[in-house]
């Protein structure tokens, strides 16, 4: 606990860098949240981006976005253009079919999201994250003390912002990793919230127990003791979860890769935050109260 100032500084620094990246570079919203049409195409051999861009530009889709999806031969084409039914998707495909040799690609997936749906999904995602934080705050506050709930939720903010920052920084760095903000990614964030609070609660549980045993100790001593008591469990559990996440990341295929990546970052940060942030906030809060 003595090192908490250093940890605050370290966390803040990384989060600030992440936030800077968020403001400057932003995150890549997927089709779910933007609305528009998206195609995932599988080419028999690595396509020329320039050529694809030229073809689509010629067909009046100059504003469309082209990027690789999971591997070099898989391409994601996206436009925010709206049209009746699947007309946009059909037009995109027709344009490519007309100019490329026959059978050079295959449509793996096509999505069309109307403008309304995109907006609703954005809203739902916001509600979901806020609701989960509130629910956790309430649960922890009821089971423990209100200040514990605040500590847990601050730790969660920390985890979410940290992970979001990392995602913003790493997005587009490698085609292997698709870090778009999709519905799955939101699911990853919510799961991250659940898992991270899981660690925090285990530490809190031990603090509650130890504070009954060592009545004469200061809160800081009890916290140190509790964190040490639960440290091996925290590491083992995070370790097993990390194992399965790494499996998902490397074996799970391109569709869940971004999801697995966000969770992998999240679980590491979450483990750290439940030790250094959640309890530290509770401690600082109680120290401040004692001073008053």
């Amino acid at each position: 606990m003595g090192a908490r100032t250093k940890m605050y500084i370290a966390s803040t620094t990384i989060i600030v860098i992440g936030m800077l990246s968020l403001f400057v570079k932003g995150v890549d919203y997927g089709i779910d949240f933007r609305g528009g049409t998206e195609l995932v195409l599988s080419f028999s051999e690595k396509p020329e981006f320039g050529q694809l861009r030229e073809i689509l530009g010629g067909a009046g889709f100059g504003d469309s976005e082209i990027k690789s999806f999971g591997s070099e031969t898989m391409i994601l084409v996206r436009t925010t253009r709206q049209g009746e039914g699947m007309t946009v998707a059909t037009a995109l495909q027709d344009a490519l079919r007309a100019k490329l040799p026959q059978g050079s690609f295959q449509v793996l997936r096509q999505d069309k999201i109307g403008p309304k749906i995109g907006k609703e999904l954005r809203q739902d995602a916001m509600y979901a994250i806020v609701a989960s934080l509130l629910v956790i705050l309430a649960y922890v506050a009821i089971r423990y003390k209100f200040s514990f709930g605040v500590g847990a939720v601050l730790a969660l903010y920390h985890d979410v912002l940290f992970t979001l920052g990392i995602i913003s920084i790493l997005d587009g760095v490698t085609p292997w990793l698709n870090l778009e903000i999709t519905q799955e990614m939101i699911a990853a964030f919510l799961t991250l919230v659940g898992l991270s609070v899981n660690d925090t609660v285990v530490v809190f549980d031990r603090i509650r127990e130890n504070s009954k045993i060592y009545r004469s100790w200061s809160l800081e001593q009890i916290m140190n003791r509790s964190i040490n008591d639960t440290l091996s469990r925290t590491i083992i559990t995070s370790g097993t979860i990390l194992i399965v996440l790494l499996v998902l990341l490397f074996v799970g295929g391109e569709v869940t890769r971004g999801f697995a990546f966000a969770l992998t970052v999240g679980i590491i940060v979450g483990t750290y935050s439940s030790i250094y942030i959640a309890s530290a906030v509770v401690l600082d809060n109680s120290l401040r109260k004692n001073k008053e």
Partner: protein, 624 residues
């Protein structure tokens, strides 16, 4: 020890129930495998033989989401503005100006359209009764009337879509209402977007078709039967066709009848009948001389294919067509069958003439009825038609599926008809929807459409299975390595956990999606947490000098509150996710929640029982 028995019983019960739930999934897998290994004739024969079992297994297995099996998901929304425009009368420039404004505004806000519409009228000081309802109606009355109309339009749209999807013969379609005016349509395995689009969006076609005379209907069925059995057909044109059939012995007919077509040596009664009456074996003409044919649900596809054959079609007279009933009826012993109606090819009247249709109750005998009203032009035609066809039946067909075929009792003048003899209020309501579908289109627009190609689905399944396998292997090894025999126990719990998780999913007929598989994998990582908490605690207690048994008791007891709290918080985020997420993400939330509950049971109860048994037998579990 007594406590122990009840726990063992509980575990066994859970295991048995899981296996029972999972059995159809296993069966389904076996059927698929067997089918894939057979070819042509053989596979059809196999299909025949196990038809009911296959259907049953399909219904109860764990379903695969569209992202895994490929297919299309379409979200339709009833275009309220279009609907308002359609039902308004005396439309003038003011009206169109308002419609245009509302349309503009609805692009940017999600507010319900109708109140916005109402406000616009108020702003301009125009009473809505100018365009809707009665001249004396207050605006509020009209607004609630419009709301009502919108809801009915959604029901109509659902009925139209269901009817068409049903005829398009998609296997296991899922059609459901979302919110107040959206329809989700999920069509597994469908690839042709354009076709589906026209299927979902085209205008519904409601027709009144005169039924052919029962005698003619029966004669045609007889001639098809004769033709198919190889007897000399009564029809003039069919002679050459028979010859053609003999030229190509591997005709489609053989394929169709394969498996059920008995060898010539088979002398049982049924086999003989099937050989001599290939058509009547599947279509039984109504004994009461209505001219209808009854076809068991399981035979419907076969009969459809039979009737679609060009040579069979040539046996039909020019003004003759078979139409199917839209829904199956059930016999008292629960068998479902469809009716085959023989109708005239040219409709007597189309649905555009219907002004209104309402389900109601006959005041005399409280039986459900439907009142139908036609416009002037329709009424004239209707009087002529009904007058000329008293005591004959007229089929009401929506997109070529017959919903009802009432008998004309007398000549109907004035366009107000009453349809009686309906079996239930539900049937009346359905008929109301169908009749109005012809009159008032339910304009829908596609607001979301996702399609996944089958190859991506296959890749996803493979990736999902691989990652599950690796996750299990690595977790099991890690626990063994770190906790020795106590780790082995956690591993046993893990296996049970997977079994329960899948069992519960099958029990709920839940849909497995790719994020759902990710949820299972993640559950594997989380599931051992409870055992880690317990084992760590036991180690501590051992280090504190307790005996093994006391340490285990204390470990389980003290770890419980932490296990409970940590699982509840994760579970709660799962609930939130399920509430707000859609489709695949809900699949993830579901597996996560089930996994958490299953893991608490298996990690706490099962491992404890094993420890106790070991201790009773004098074995000493090792906590590493």
């Amino acid at each position: 020890m007594r406590n122990q028995f009840s726990k063992i019983f509980l575990i066994l019960a859970a295991v048995v129930v899981s296996f029972i739930f999972l059995y159809p999934t296993y069966e389904d897998y076996q059927f698929r495998k067997n089918l894939a290994s057979r070819s042509g004739q053989d596979s059809i024969a196999y299909l025949e033989q196990h038809q009911e079992d296959i259907l049953n297994a399909k219904l109860k297995r764990i379903k695969l989401g569209l992202d895994l099996q490929g297919g299309m998901r379409v979200v339709l929304e009833v275009d309220v503005i279009q609907l308002l425009e359609d039902i308004a009368k005396n439309k003038d420039d003011n009206f169109f100006a308002i419609v245009k404004e509302v349309r503009e505004q609805s692009r940017t806000t999600d507010e319900s359209v109708i109140p916005v519409f109402g406000t616009k009228f108020q702003d301009r000081g125009i009473r809505m009764s100018r365009y809707f309802g009665n001249i004396r109606d207050a605006d509020n009355t009209i607004l609630s009337y419009l709301n009502d109309e919108t809801e009915k339009a959604v029901d109509r749209a659902i009925e139209i879509v269901r009817n068409r999807v049903d005829q398009y013969r998609v296997s296991e379609p899922n059609i459901q209402k979302q919110g107040s005016r959206r329809i989700i349509v999920e069509l597994p395995g469908v690839k042709d977007e354009r076709e589906v689009q026209s299927l979902l969006q085209g205008t519904a076609k409601l027709e009144f078709r005169l039924l052919r005379d029962p005698a003619i209907s029966y004669r045609i069925m007889q001639s098809i039967d004769d033709y198919l059995s190889g007897k000399v057909p009564s029809d003039t044109a069919a002679g050459s066709k028979t010859a053609k059939k003999e030229e190509k012995p591997k005709d489609a007919l053989d394929d169709l009848l394969a498996g059920n077509k008995p060898a010539a040596t088979d002398t049982t009664q049924e086999a003989k009948f099937l050989r001599e009456h290939p058509f009547f074996s599947y279509v039984s003409p109504d004994q009461q001389n209505t001219g209808e044919g009854y076809v068991l649900e399981t035979n419907r596809d076969r009969v459809i294919r039979l009737l679609a054959r060009p040579d069979v079609r040539r046996l039909l007279p020019v003004d003759f067509e078979f139409l199917w009933s839209a829904r199956p009826d059930a016999t008292p012993d629960g068998k479902k069958f469809y009716r085959l109606y023989a109708v005239k090819r040219v409709p007597e009247l189309t649905g555009g003439v219907i002004i209104d249709a309402r389900a109601s109750v006959d005041p005399n005998d409280n039986r459900p009825i439907v009142n139908m009203e036609m416009n002037a032009e329709g009424s004239r035609e209707w009087a002529r038609i009904t007058g000329a066809n008293v005591n004959k039946r007229i089929a009401i067909a929506l997109d070529n599926a017959v919903f009802s075929a009432p008998t004309v009792i007398n000549k109907i003048i004035g366009g107000r008809s009453q349809i009686t003899g309906l079996e239930s209020p539900n049937e009346a309501r359905l008929l109301e929807i169908v009749l109005r579908a012809g009159a008032l289109p339910a304009p829908v627009s596609i607001i979301e459409q996702r399609s996944v190609g089958p190859s991506l689905g296959e890749d996803s399944i493979r990736a999902g299975l691989n990652s599950t396998m690796w996750a299990v292997i690595l977790t099991v090894l890690f626990m063994l390595f770190y906790y020795h025999s106590a780790g082995a126990m956690a591993d046993v719990a893990l296996v049970f956990n997977i079994l329960f998780l899948l069992g519960v999913m099958a029990g709920f007929s839940a849909t497995l999606t790719l994020p759902g598989i990710a949820g299972i994998v993640l559950t594997l990582g989380i599931a051992v947490d409870a055992n880690v908490l317990i084992n760590e605690r036991v180690r501590e207690e051992l280090a504190g000098g307790k005996t093994l048994r006391a340490a285990i008791d204390a470990g389980y007891e003290r770890a419980f509150s932490a296990i409970l709290d940590s699982n509840v918080t994760t579970f709660l985020t799962g609930v939130v996710l399920y509430q707000f997420g859609s489709g695949p993400v809900q699949g993830f939330a579901l597996t996560l929640m089930i996994g958490i509950v299953a893991s608490m049971f298996s990690a706490i109860v099962i491992t404890r029982v094993i420890f106790n048994i070991m201790l009773d037998k004098g074995l000493t579990p090792n906590f590493g």
